[in-house]
Symmetry: C2
Subunit: 301 residues, 2 copies
């Protein structure tokens, strides 16, 4: 899993900071999470292939998470996209996109599927052979979901040394990887577990933005490898955070601690601060493993 931050600042786009958008790569699939204005330019800047994006997850219908989507959908057409595109987001997102396409008299040359969300409970919204995506209901000024990406458990890996020690012929190696027990010429049957290593532990990534401090998400994001939790404000603006239904760095760290996540990734910073280092300092008073998102950074999970 590799996460690329295209933008991680709140509110208006500025000359050197972008509103929210991230690309999550899982086993060669690309998932786009949120799409603030300027996302398609940031995709280019980060040399991410437009055509590899087949699923876009939108958290909520505030501009700094959405207003780059119509441009991206249109550019896909101009770039002669043919692959299906799936968009997941709050009810209303379909009307926003289709109205603009209709009035521009420019429909997509590819199939565009909308998956509109209305549930207040976490639900499975995407699944393939390698990945599942569940919503994480968040509390914000409008209907909002985070998204939990989980790799599925991979297959067990061949322990070639053990197979050789047992004298297993190489023609059986494929069966070993498929999970079968292996009969030897002397009649013994070697259990698969003795011929294989455990699978690589599946990784998980939870994206939570925007949200007020909300302990109800803890069971959903429990033990994830990386939790991206919005931290729009520092503690000095805790009251403003509450009023605008955002979170502080310390609140994000508290969720991380209570959910026993491996690493907390902070972002969605208000542009009022000169430096983002202070976000880490404050979060570290509660939780140790804290990363700071910043535009253009990539993280290997």
């Amino acid at each position: 899993m590799k996460l690329t931050i295209l933008g991680c600042y709140a509110a208006t786009p500025r000359t050197f900071t972008n509103p929210t958008s991230q690309v999550l790569e899982i086993k060669n699939r690309l998932f786009l999470i949120d799409c603030g204005e300027g996302t398609q330019v940031e995709l280019r800047r980060n040399k991410i292939k437009f055509s590899k994006i087949e699923h876009i997850f939108i958290s909520h219908l505030h501009g700094d998470h959405l207003y780059g989507l119509i441009g991206l959908v249109s550019s896909f057409t101009l770039l002669n996209r043919t692959a299906d595109l799936h968009i997941y987001g709050p009810k209303g997102i379909k009307e926003i996109i289709l109205l603009q396409l209709r009035l521009a008299n420019s429909f997509t040359g590819y199939n565009l599927y909308f998956h509109e969300l209305t549930s207040a409970e976490s639900e499975l919204v995407y699944e393939d052979d390698k990945v599942t995506v569940h919503t994480i209901p968040l509390k914000h000024r409008v209907y909002t979901n985070g998204y939990l990406f989980r790799e599925k458990m991979g297959i067990r890996r061949l322990n070639a040394q053990a197979a050789e020690n047992y004298g297993v012929d190489k023609v059986y190696y494929r069966n070993i990887v498929l999970g079968k027990d292996i009969p030897l010429d002397d009649g013994r049957i070697i259990p698969n577990s003795e011929l294989t290593f455990e699978p690589v532990p599946p990784k998980s990534y939870a994206f939570c933005s925007d949200t007020i401090y909300n302990e109800e998400i803890i069971p959903i994001v429990k033990n994830v490898d990386v939790l991206y939790h919005e931290s729009t404000f520092l503690e000095s603006e805790a009251e403003l955070a509450h009023k605008t239904m955002h979170a502080t760095a310390i609140q994000a760290a508290t969720i991380a601690k209570l959910a026993d996540v491996k690493t907390l990734l902070l972002g969605h910073y208000s542009t009022r601060y000169d430096s983002i280092e202070k976000f880490r300092e404050e979060a570290n008073t509660v939780f140790e493993s804290v990363w700071l998102a910043d535009d253009g950074l990539s993280f290997d999970l």
Copy 2:
């Protein structure tokens, strides 16, 4: 009059080129013309005060002229704008903006007025004591208008030397500027024209994008100081220009010549070309005074 090009490339925004947007300054008023994605960042980059923009003119509802508008409207709210904002554009523009504001549950803190256009004839859409703006009906794949900005004739200017020669007392100078004839002590009456210079000739700017080659605009843009005429393609793509209802550099120059404009300003270049200098070369085969728009350039008219 000062024109600043925020973006002048067709289709998708890219790392170093922006879709259409321009700021026209006339006697300390700012008019924004078109608003492709990224316009608000380009306004910042060009150090143009958001709050001074009170009138936005949108040519048509294609994304490369429009998709930055909703973000700008939203940012005005975040920046605590209080001044009225007027938006002029094709019918449908109000629905696009209001739908998105409604679904974001974030209404503007200022008054937002829409002036939706449907006429196929040129019409006066804006007037104040210094400026008029008329539409220029264009022919494109969707309903499109260019805009003609005209300064009004200014007042005559005092010819201080002439007044002194006639022995006019300085207490009458205000009346001279107001256009009055001036009585002397000896009974003679000096006509105002002998005490003043002609006003500074009013300037005019015509913005025409996007459009196919269309001689019907010639009477409207006749004799303007600067004609911005789209030139999406070079002559080698003349057929594609016709098919997509765009114009070539030579077609833009032909309109400039037939309309006897002072200067032709080219823009809305397709991003397929490595250099834009060729646009000037081709236009120069028909018309001499050709400027090339480019992102971040300013022109004093």
